[in-house]
């Protein structure tokens, strides 16, 4: 998938643990882990809303679009 969840960096910046974040959003730690590891198929607006509010960021900071082909070419160049 081309959409990537860039939660790890923002969590580090905000100096918050996964457990605390999960509690604040109202999801389980397991689900947060699915989100962080890019295994999630979709994200609800309500979850995104809470994430932006707690982590004080824009949706664009959390979700990133990376073209799979470009990524492949870059890795080949390296």
């Amino acid at each position: 998938m081309s959409i990537y969840v860039n939660l790890d960096e923002i969590i580090k910046k905000n100096n918050i643990t996964s457990k605390e974040l999960a509690e604040l959003i109202g999801i389980t730690e397991a689900n947060l882990s699915i989100l962080r590891s890019n295994k999630a198929k979709a994200i609800r607006f309500s979850t995104l809303n809470k994430l932006c509010k707690i982590l004080q960021c824009e949706p664009g900071d959390i979700l990133k679009y990376i073209d799979d082909n470009e990524e492949g070419e870059e890795s080949e160049d390296e």
Binding site: L32, A40, R44
Partner: protein
């Protein structure tokens, strides 16, 4: 109760003791099937299936009635014991129902209570008539009609054995009452609470009954029919070798199809167990449904191949087989093909549902 005993054989791959008991039961059934005297020994090859089916259906009742009759005729004490045993057999469904209600602390249902009384009474009537068959008599009006010549010979022949047919009809009615009771319970559950997982328990019971019946057919009825066909073979004037080959073809395919159906029932058992454990959306269920579809397709192909081989062999050797033993079969396996399609569609629906379920569960 009988189906619960058979239930342990489903896991014969898991425990060696289950496999051993399964093989032992199959051997006992084969021996009983071979030693049972069917009333159609005089007939030739493949002409006596109807009479054998009647004999097989009545067989457990005949066994009990023979035992009771010998007890009753032995002495006055034996007679008393026989009456007590007959009473106990009649009360057995009711006793098992009441004990089940007490153990599981379920409420008494008037419907189930009446059903168990009818069940016991019908079993008692069948056994009583088998002990005293002379009690079954034809109505006078029917005897008068039979004197006329226009009555078909076939009906006359059937009425020669009317006592057996009368009892057979009673057994069929008994089986139908049991099936209707299970369906009534199933509908009743769904009326109050539409719950697939609860309904699966009833389907599991159905599946167990079907498995038991098929097991008995495979290891009791088919060997009996095979024996009967071989007896008919001895009476044949010529073409014994060809008739023997035809018998072998017939029974190999019958066993192949019975084996396939047993495998289907075992696979459905796994699916129903998953449902009772409230596992609905899983890859395993999709695989199970696809497997069932495949098995029904193989069954349809086997049935079709059997007809082709059977008819071609008879056509090639028609001059060497007695005319009365020539029997061409033409039939299309609609049921198997319909079930193939149905299970394949169910597998597709289940696959789609599984994908939606996974997507939903991965939506955070």
């Amino acid at each position: 109760m009988l189906t619960k005993i058979f239930y342990h054989f489903y896991d014969y791959k898991k425990k060696p003791i289950n496999l051993i008991s399964c093989i032992l039961l199959a051997i006992v059934l084969v021996i009983l099937g071979l030693f049972n005297n069917y009333s159609t020994n005089e007939s030739t090859f493949s002409r006596s299936e109807r009479a054998i089916i009647i004999d097989i259906t009545l067989y457990p009742f005949i066994l009990i009635s023979k035992l009771l009759k010998s007890l009753a005729l032995a002495s006055s004490t034996g007679n008393l014991i026989a009456i007590i045993i007959l009473g106990l057999i009649c009360a057995l469904p009711l006793i098992s129902y009441v004990s089940r209600c007490i153990i599981t602390r379920k409420h008494f249902s008037l419907g189930s209570f009446t059903f168990n009384i009818i069940l016991g009474a019908m079993i008692g009537i069948i056994i009583y008539y088998l002990i005293n068959p002379s009690l079954i008599s034809l109505p006078k009006e029917l005897v008068e009609i039979l004197k006329y010549e226009y009555v078909d010979d076939l009906i006359k022949k059937a009425l020669d054995d009317f006592r057996k047919i009368f009892l057979w009809v009673l057994v069929i009615v008994l089986i139908q009452i049991i099936i209707l009771y299970i369906i009534y319970n199933l509908i009743n559950i769904n009326k109050n609470n539409l719950n697939l997982f609860k309904a699966a328990k009833y389907f599991l019971m159905f599946q167990r009954i079907c498995y038991t019946i098929l097991f008995i057919i495979a290891f009791f009825s088919l060997p009996g029919m095979f024996k009967n066909d071989l007896i008919g073979l001895i009476n044949a004037e010529f073409g014994i070798l060809h008739i023997f080959v035809l018998i072998i073809i017939k029974y190999s395919f019958l066993y192949l199809m019975t084996f396939l159906m047993l495998k289907v029932l075992r696979t459905i058992h796994d699916l129903l167990v998953n449902f009772t454990n409230e596992i609905l959306f899983s890859v395993e269920n999709v695989i199970i449904l696809k497997k069932c579809s495949r098995l029904f397709l193989i069954n349809a192909i086997a049935s079709f191949t059997f007809q082709i081989i059977w008819n071609i062999y008879q056509f090639i050797n028609k001059s060497n087989i007695p005319i009365e033993d020539l029997k061409f079969i033409v039939g299309f396996p609609y049921a198997s093909l319909f079930l193939t399609l149905l299970f394949y569609l169910l597998a597709l629906v289940m696959h789609q549902s599984y994908e939606i379920y996974t997507e939903n569960s991965l939506t955070i």
